[in-house]
């Protein structure tokens, strides 16, 4: 017969699942294997990371593109820890008091291993002085000198008063203390003259007395004016005496401390200012600690020391004495404070107080000189954190900022600590979508994150890669402290991750999924009291995972079995095809057959996609349906308009549909309706179609086949049932073993087709037909029937138009 396509045979069982032979793996259990690098299969990403860490220029920070759960974070961690470990140990940082401006604490850089030593040395210095200084001030000599100063001041005061008193006494005038102040009064017999007596004095005498008193009052004012001067002189003399006495002891003690840090210039500079301040504030050492007015609350650690001497404390921000190499910090909660550090406050008598000892380091302080890893999504959702990180990277220094200050909520005194120079590589980990958004919406992102590490989610399933992947299993097993995996188990796991990759020629690199499966298989191995994980344990782990998630799938299949959802799996029907779709619920994907029907009548060449009309169809689905129109026009309306009205519908579809994987099924239904040739209901169809009638690959092929298989199996496997898939999907087949077994037993078939014509031949048992040299389809072909039907529609339409001239004939 002219134009007859070659009869399509079902696929052999061998093509339905790409097996892995445990014997070829060449080991007994994974305990025999050397663990491998987690960056296995990620050459591109590894190169990017190597480049980023080696590139010592500003802005070459790294964005790791990868979906969550793929284990990229662990891979990056392993890589960075290796690199950081080989780096030089970074310097340490401490905050100390700024004796000139206490609001701006100073940041000191110290070589590794010196920060804690410096803190202890300062504590020791103060402890020594706490003993040495008070004893200096308890000597007889000091007391005598102090008393001399006080006596001198008192004597000066008394002397001034005494002179005045003598002068007044000579005039029979007394100086009196009153509740209001000092006053002068005339006296007689050492008593103030009574007013009545005073009034009896003659006027001249009264005026003389008043004049004397007025003069004395002026002199008293002068005496009183000099009192603060005398008091200031006394204080100055006391301070000078204290300084003179303390300076030698302080200088010796500070020199002893300085000798321990001879090579560290910032420490020596700081010690100079400490020495000056100690001499200036030697009084601190002579007081009782309880009298301290500004007493911060006692807490554990260095803060619990005597609060009077906090000003000489050392607040260690970063101490690297115990570590070799640089740090690789993973900040899981990248708030502004956790990143840049914060200035804490203590509540004291209802007031919030702070000092440099309450500066807490952030993750950037700890990572300085090394690496910091942050999840992009987390930092972008933390208020102020992203902008602060960018500012920090631009300025190459860590400046502690407060969120409250930024929004104008700061209601208490805080500090502005000296910024710490920053030398760090920031590694952001996030999805591709976030990366794209940042590139497009944040102009600074490209300047600060010049390197992207794009992680693969799968790699080629070659024997070499299988071997590598098994070594990855071994690494995970070691890291997770699991039982070793035997060869059969490893083979099954390789097959499973190939299926997870949706490709028989690829292996998934979803380390998170692999790790979960291994953990669960280990659990079941333990449950079965086995010393190694076997294939049975891996299989049980896979089935258990599915079993926990497939409640909805069971409900859908039950509905089909009970004919609530109408799906035929035997007989034939015109204009009705079993399509296949994939539904995903909570990460679990399953195939679901859907009845696709087509109805035709005369019309103006319009193909109605009912899904689109009711807005249940997505754009890709609509595109697929439009391609059908194009296919029909190209094949059947070359020399006349397509006088067709047709409707297509996914029956009993109550949710949205998208994708074009059902477009071939829709075309089969449409052609069946037009040709009035019945379609086998024992078959289901998946595959998209292009304008040329070629069947194209679709996704989820395994789930779709298994979905129809499960329905058929629930009823009865007749041997007539099967699924049509695009030929280009053969390489993706990793079907379940029970499906493969059914195929082997001849109870189920999978057909791979390249064209619509091949599909029609299987579905209808009739050749579609090809136009001959005269441009006609063979008389007994399906397309001939289609063309004839369309011709009839065209004639009917013409007749209708002639009957109703002038009227619009469109639908």
């Amino acid at each position: 017969m002219v134009g007859q396509v070659k009869e399509i045979q079902p696929l052999s069982a061998l093509t339905l699942r790409q097996r892995c032979d445990p014997l070829q793996l060449g080991f007994e259990t994974t305990a025999d294997l050397q663990p491998t690098d987690r960056l296995m299969g990620q050459q591109r990403a590894a190169d990017a990371m190597h480049f980023a860490v080696a590139m010592q220029r500003s802005g070459y920070n790294l964005y790791v593109i990868g979906e969550r759960g793929f284990g990229h974070q662990a891979s990056v961690k392993q890589f960075l820890e290796q690199v950081a470990g080989a780096k030089e140990t970074p310097d340490e940082w401490v905050y100390v008091n700024n004796f000139e401006v206490s609001r701006n604490p100073k940041a000191l850089r110290l070589p590794p291993g010196n920060a804690m030593r410096f803190r202890e040395a300062m504590e020791e210095l103060i402890d020594d002085l706490k003993i040495a200084l008070p004893s200096l001030f308890e000597t007889e000599d000091y007391r005598n000198r102090l008393r001399a100063i006080n006596d001198e001041a008192k004597e000066q005061q008394e002397q001034a008063f005494e002179i005045l008193r003598s002068k007044a006494g000579a005039e029979n005038i007394a100086i009196l203390r009153t509740p209001m102040g000092f006053a002068f009064a005339p006296t007689k017999d050492d008593k103030v003259i009574e007013p009545e007596v005073f009034n009896t004095l003659d006027k001249a005498e009264r005026e003389r007395i008043e004049g004397v008193i007025e003069t004395l009052q002026h002199e008293l004012e002068t005496v009183l004016r000099n009192m603060p001067v005398i008091e200031k002189q006394r204080r100055d003399s006391t301070r000078s005496l204290n300084a003179e006495l303390a300076s030698s002891t302080v200088s010796t003690s500070v020199a002893t401390t300085a000798a321990q840090f001879e090579e560290i210039a910032p420490v020596l500079d700081f010690l100079k200012s400490v020495e000056a301040d100690l001499v200036r504030n030697v009084g601190l050492f002579l007081q009782d600690g309880g009298d301290e007015k500004v007493e911060l609350l006692h807490r554990g650690g260095p803060e619990s020391r005597d609060p009077r001497f906090r000003r000489y404390g050392v607040n260690v921000q970063v101490a690297n004495g115990d570590i070799q190499g640089a740090a690789a910090v993973f900040e899981d909660h990248p708030t502004l404070g956790n990143l840049l550090g914060r200035v804490e406050h203590l509540s004291q008598m209802g007031t919030l107080v702070t000092d440099f000892m309450l500066i807490k380091p952030g993750a950037l302080h700890k990572a300085n000189g090394g690496f910091i890893v942050i999840e992009a999504r987390k930092i972008l959702t933390e208020p102020f954190a992203w902008e602060a990180l960018k500012r920090t990277l631009r300025g190459n220094s860590i400046r502690i900022e407060s969120a409250a200050e930024q929004i104008g909520f700061a209601t208490t005194v805080t500090l502005d600590p000296e910024p710490v120079p920053l030398d760090v590589k920031v590694v952001l980990i996030g999805e591709r979508r976030l990366y794209d958004l940042l590139v497009h919406l944040d102009p600074e992102f490209g300047e600060l994150f010049k390197v992207e590490a794009d992680f693969e989610d799968r790699w080629a399933r070659t024997s070499q890669n299988e071997e590598q992947t098994v070594r990855l299993f071994s690494s995970i097993i070691v890291d997770e402290d699991l039982r070793p995996l035997d060869a059969a188990g490893a083979a099954l796991l390789l097959e499973e991750i190939s299926r997870y990759a949706d490709d028989a020629e690829r292996l998934s690199l979803h380390i998170g999924y692999i790790t979960d499966l291994l953990r669960e298989a280990d659990f079941w191995a333990g449950d079965a009291d086995r010393k190694a994980i076997t294939a049975a344990d891996v299989e049980r782990a896979i089935k258990s995972r599915i079993g926990r998630k497939d409640r909805i799938r069971q409900r859908v299949y039950e509905a089909i079995d009970r004919k609530t959802l109408l799906i035929d799996t035997e007989d034939t029907a015109i204009g009705q095809v079993n399509g296949l779709s994939v539904t995903g619920i909570g990460g679990f994907m399953f195939g679901k057959p859907s009845r696709i029907t087509a109805r035709v009548r005369m019309g103006a060449g319009k193909l109605i996609d009912i899904e689109r009309e009711v807005e249940l169809g997505g754009p890709l689905h609509s595109k697929g349906v439009m391609i059908l129109t194009s296919y029909l026009n190209a094949n059947f309306a070359l020399d006349r308009p397509l006088s067709l009205w047709a409707s297509l519908v996914f029956e009993q579809s109550y949710g949205g549909i998208d994708g074009d994987s059902a477009s071939s099924a829709e075309l089969y239904a449409l052609l069946s309706a037009l040709s009035e040739v019945p379609v086998r209901q024992s078959l289901a169809v998946t595959g998209s179609v292009n304008q040329l009638g070629q069947i194209q690959a679709i996704g989820g092929v395994n789930e779709k086949i298994e979905g129809f298989f499960d329905i058929c199996k629930m009823r009865v496997l007749t041997g007539d049932q099967g699924v049509l898939i695009p030929e280009s999907n053969i390489k993706h087949l990793m079907l379940r073993q029970d499906v493969v077994d059914a195929v082997v037993d001849g109870k189920f078939s999978v057909f791979a087709v390249r064209t619509v014509e091949e599909g029609l031949a299987i579905l209808t048992g009739m050749q579609a037909g090809k136009r001959d040299s005269t441009g006609k389809y063979p008389a007994d072909s399906l397309y001939s029937r289609v063309e004839l039907r369309l011709q009839k529609f065209a004639e009917a339409r013409r007749a209708y138009a002639e009957r109703n001239q002038g009227e619009k004939t469109d639908d």
């Binding site: 308890e138 100086i175 509740p179 000092f182 006053a183 103030v192």
Partner: protein, 298 residues
């Protein structure tokens, strides 16, 4: 204005507790002298401690200083405030109001404190010179608590003047000028030269117990034998109730330094008539910054 009412002197000896008719009476009275110039809260606190320690009543005497009233009545009376050297006109009515306010304030405070301590107390307002009126009120069994700041005439030996002026009382507590006194430290008994009366040791012991403090005994110019005698007497009186520290200091100056280091709550001294100079009293008051209790001998 109220005038002073002279109390009849009870017939009691220092250690006795009944008069010649055998009527039960309290052995001591605490006479607290108040004036208009000093902050009298420390005076009240000291009086309360003594009243509790000696199981005595308190009589508060507020003296309206006659010299100040006379001054205020003079037509040219003015005062210069030391803090800002401003000159204020003084009027008699204003001075009387000052006295009235101060008297009622200290009376109210004294009664409030005494009600919490279950100490009986009375209050008088007297008119005249501070030292004269307190001396007139004092009797032999009195412990007088006074503040030299209430003397209107500014003199370096004000405390000493008071000690000599009020010679009727059994003892006198002179409050330090402008001190932040808190009765937290030990009670220091300074024994100069010869043996101390048992009564002084007893009083020191009772004050220490009332304030929950230790007693420290310092001796000056005492021979080893005398010191041993003091130690024996002290142990006999104190038993195990107090921590006795006997410290020998050769001079009053060094003893004053030691007293200052101890931060005492009270300093008690039993001087002979001639042994205590003006300078010594001033030294002890200034160095200890605590109430100085001077007990008369005999």
């Amino acid at each position: 204005m109220q005038s002073a009412t002279r109390a009849k002197k009870p017939m009691t000896d220092v250690r006795g507790n009944s008069d010649k008719n055998g009527k039960k009476s309290r052995p001591f009275r605490v006479l607290a002298g108040f004036g208009s110039m000093a902050d009298e809260l420390p005076t009240i606190d000291a009086a309360m401690i003594l009243a509790r320690a000696l199981e005595a009543d308190i009589t508060g005497c507020f003296v309206e200083d006659a010299d100040l009233l006379n001054l205020a009545a003079l037509p040219f009376a003015k005062a210069i405030r030391p803090s800002d050297r401003s000159v204020l006109q003084i009027e008699r009515e204003q001075m009387e109001q000052q006295f009235s306010r101060a008297a009622s304030n200290w009376q109210r405070t004294l009664f409030a404190r005494s009600s919490h301590s279950s100490v009986r107390c009375s209050f008088k307002i007297m008119h005249g010179a501070y030292s004269t009126e307190i001396a007139r009120e004092a009797v032999a069994s009195d412990i007088v608590v006074i503040n030299p700041l209430n003397l209107p005439y500014r003199a370096p030996n004000a405390a000493s003047l008071l000690w000599h002026a009020i010679d009727e009382a059994m003892g006198m507590v002179i409050m330090p000028e402008r001190s932040q006194w808190l009765p937290n430290g030990p009670v220091v008994l300074l024994i100069s030269g010869s043996n101390a009366d048992r009564s002084v040791l007893t009083i020191a012991n009772r004050i220490a117990r009332a304030t929950g403090n230790q007693t420290v005994i310092l001796t000056t110019d005492a021979a080893e034998g005398t010191r041993q005698q003091i130690r024996d007497t002290a142990f006999e009186i104190f038993a195990s109730e107090a921590d006795i520290r006997l410290v020998a200091e050769s001079r009053l100056e060094t003893a004053a330094v030691r007293i200052a280091e101890l931060r005492p709550s009270f300093v008690i001294l039993q001087p002979s008539k001639t042994s205590l100079s003006d300078a010594s009293i001033a030294l002890l008051l200034n160095s200890s910054q605590a109430p100085l209790m001077l007990m008369r001998r005999g």
